[in-house]
Symmetry: C2
DNA sequence: TGATTTTTAGAGTAATTACTCTAGGAGTCA
DNA sequence: TGACTCCTAGAGTAATTACTCTAAAAATCA
């Protein structure tokens, strides 16, 4: 049986993801757990502590994933790797969504967050560097840096963007999953031009794996707009 | 002399951008303007109305910019064009930053926002399509769609990302400007692989124009990390 | 068993904050 | 001048909500 402390974190996370931290009160959390507010405050001295603890979990998890790009990476493995990363971030999506307020309210968290991003970018560069060494990517240093930043922007914002366009998705597990996977697809789009050799050959296969059954607009906007009109014939 | 209503919007915008909507109370706004809360509520029946009005301004402004890509675009013009877009979004940066809560609190705004994004993407595709016709970009339909979505992610999230990493930037106008321009640079990185002909020739010039004096990491993280270590020699 | 510590309940509080209400100033028009 | 409308002040309220406090149950340990 998980400890009360853990259960508080888990439920908070779920509620935050679904409704946004701002709309989830501490009493709310307690009620959802079937415990008293007093009990909650016995374990966490304030709401910010809960957020900070969740950030700790999140950052540890992500940094661990970024730690070990084991051996020479193939293109397929790399893609699964990205899926894992995005899935982890998706689990804690409330964080990037409500980031502004958290960092404004807690200077220490702000500092920790900044250090965190720094390491993420550093390790990301290493990984992209290895992909370059393996001949999977072909780009110069500046392009690598640009790609890295854009990848981070995409990964850290994808959940928020999706939430803005499809707030209903939280209720539908299949849709939720599809939208997350679409994020991986967008990352593939980001790197596509730099792919070489074997990777290039498997590109279409990988894209197909992560492309939504419907096209982007259908998924993100909930119906079919005039995508075809921009055709290049 | 601008009307009180206008002044309320302007000050709200400035405060929201600087401190985040959540940390700016209505009394705060009134005080900053030197008017009474009663007066404020005479002009806007609640806080959400202010946000909605600012969104109206913002969306109108952006859609107007996206309306008229006048005649055959050159690569340089296009880049200035992107600068204009990002600058506009930068002016209303609080919006994308605090989006979650706004859309959660106001269903009508959520609907309007969704329609807005739809049009933005549609017009963006048209513009990218014209760049393709002009021989500036070379990509297929699917790549164009992917690029469009990634551009939107970048544009709509850039301000939030920057704010998380450099909350101090709001106080320093030069830094603020540099960070915004860096967003343009990242957009250029996004398209770089698809550039052809004349555009390709001017690429370095354009990159130099928008690249920060220091490198990305310096700017975003406030000091120099080990960027050089990923060298490709 | 009794003593001590950990965990829980739940009523209650203090502070914040969006918003109201009344009354009066300031233009405008007859 | 007076009537009427628009705008403003500012004290005040109601509701929310993060958080406290006391006491008691439950676990731990001697």
């Amino acid at each position: 049986m998980t400890s009360t402390k853990e259960r508080i974190l888990n439920t908070s996370l779920a509620l935050f993801n679904r409704q946004g931290e701002r709309n989830v009160t501490t009493n709310h959390i307690a009620e959802a757990l079937g415990i008293s507010p007093g009990n909650l405050y016995y374990h966490f001295r304030n709401k910010g502590t809960i957020v900070a603890a969740l950030f700790e979990r999140y950052s540890q998890h992500l940094l661990t994933l970024l730690e070990a790009p084991q051996g020479p990476l193939t293109w397929t493995i790399k893609t699964y790797y990205f899926e894992g990363l995005l899935a982890s971030m998706w689990q804690y999506r409330f964080f990037h969504r409500d980031l502004t307020h958290f960092l404004h309210a807690d200077a220490e968290l702000a500092a920790r967050y900044q250090a965190f991003v720094e390491i993420v970018l550093e390790r990301g560069r290493v990984i992209y560097g290895e992909l370059r060494s393996s001949g999977i990517l072909e780009l110069d240093d500046e392009q690598l840096q640009g790609l890295m930043v854009n990848t981070w922007v995409l990964m850290s914002s994808w959940a928020g963007l999706v939430h803005g366009l499809r707030p209903d998705a939280a209720a539908d597990e299949a849709l939720d999953e599809a939208l997350m996977r679409h994020g991986v697809y967008q990352i593939i789009c980001l790197e596509e031009p730099f792919l070489r050799g074997e990777a290039r050959e498997h590109l279409e296969e990988m894209k197909a794996r992560y492309r939504a059954a419907n096209n982007t607009s259908t998924l993100l906007l909930g119906h079919v707009p005039g995508l075809d009109r921009t055709g290049s014939e």
